[in-house]
Amino acid sequence: MAEHLHTRSECSLFDICHMGEILVEGPQAFDLIQKTVSRDISKMVVGQMVLATFTNEQGGILDDLTVYKYSDQKFMLVVNASNIQRDYEWVAKAQKDFHFNAVVRNESDSLAKLDIQGPHAQKILQQIASTDLNTIQFYHFAEPALMDSPSTVSRSGYTGEDGFELYFPVPDAVRVWNKLIELGSKPAGLGARDTLRLEAAMNLYGHEMNETVSPLECRYAWVTSLEKDFIGVEPLREQKKNGIPRKLVGIEMIDRQIARNPYPIFSLHNEPIGVVTSGSFSPTLKKNIALALVQFGSLEKGAECLVEVRGQKCRAKVINLPSYRRSDGT
């Protein structure tokens, strides 16, 4: 909990080396990515990154990812650790199936990833970065040297705070880590990362998303461009037309119990309506909050529902997301 609060008030450093980096290069790198991700990347400029999803032919989410554009012919896809191999094979298969002139490389073992997050992140990182970090806008990146290590630095993260995601060669990881700690950031773990992202209402693969959940259901409609062609778009267009079966909502417990994945959710009339996807005590808000996937239309804003905690129906209410938004607000 101290790590969580330190990220909100000062600065934490997260070892995220487990995440995957897939490089796509070549004359048709753009076309390959445009075909495999839900987001329209045609408007992206060099130095920009975007959030997107991979969907299967049924429109279910295979993973969520960020896309970094280095040039018209070079992109990096950053994917979740548990899905690295599947994602790599998915993109490589699409390259073959659609005969795109592009090379897909899994660079996950050669690139280290650290996230530096919190209000002091820029001040600390600037001391080892060769580029003025003020020039990096939110969801954009630059390629400065970090202590002479060639890197990619984006202003982004998974905590709801200002901060940066850093990618650089694995052999430099220990000295960059040690230097950033020496300069005042504190190590934080994946437990803190999970409660931080929950407060910021950011999805986690395997919780809010899986192959049976569509991006339209889990608050990812904004990263899904139904007017372009990509694998999975047809069923998603149908779903848009016919209505989504489920919807991801935020809830806050009224009773004292903590909602956790995968506790069932009921309406006040005791009809089963969904399931908790993530839930925890919120260290910042000092409340018990959760994300839940429920039948569309079953819960309006502010409506009450019941979460079954160890056989006991406990009261909760629907809240606006995100639960936490930092005060300087981007």
Binding site: M1, T195, R256, S280, F281
Partner: protein, 132 residues
């Protein structure tokens, strides 16, 4: 978290609960080792008054930010009182595990069961073996 010595007047279980015997009653909580391992405790589900429990069976549970953990009864008995303060201040289990962090008071059914528990010295030896 500050380190707390394990008081000599308590008996301990292998699951890291303690009991303080006062006449025919016993006060129950979890050890300093346990509170430290569980990290920040944010919720305690106290047992119902009158609940009858068996030795080493579930008495109540605690939740940290990360996990839900069962707490077991050091001896058999009936719950006669619970520490209501924990309903709004679960962190007392972390800050004062042997004092304000107590969870339940039991009427002890069979005092002979106390011989199945460890003294403070035995518990400390047990923790040392576990950590190696």
């Amino acid at each position: 978290m500050s380190a707390h010595g394990n008081p000599a007047n308590l008996k301990y279980t292998k699951e890291h609960e303690w009991i303080r015997v006062e006449g025919e009653f016993g006060f129950i909580g979890i050890s300093d080792f346990a509170q430290h391992a569980l990290t920040d405790i944010v919720f305690v589900e106290l047992p119902a008054l009158g609940k009858s429990v068996e030795q080493f069976k579930q008495l109540c549970l605690v939740e940290s930010v990360k996990s839900v953990s069962d707490i077991y009864a050091p001896v058999s008995g009936e719950v006669t009182e619970t520490n209501k303060e924990l309903e709004t201040a679960a962190h007392l289990v972390n800050s004062d595990p042997y004092g304000k962090g107590w969870m339940a008071k039991l009427q002890i059914r069979n005092p002979a069961e106390l011989s199945n528990l460890m003294s403070a010295a035995e518990y400390e030896a047990y923790l040392k073996i576990k950590s190696h």
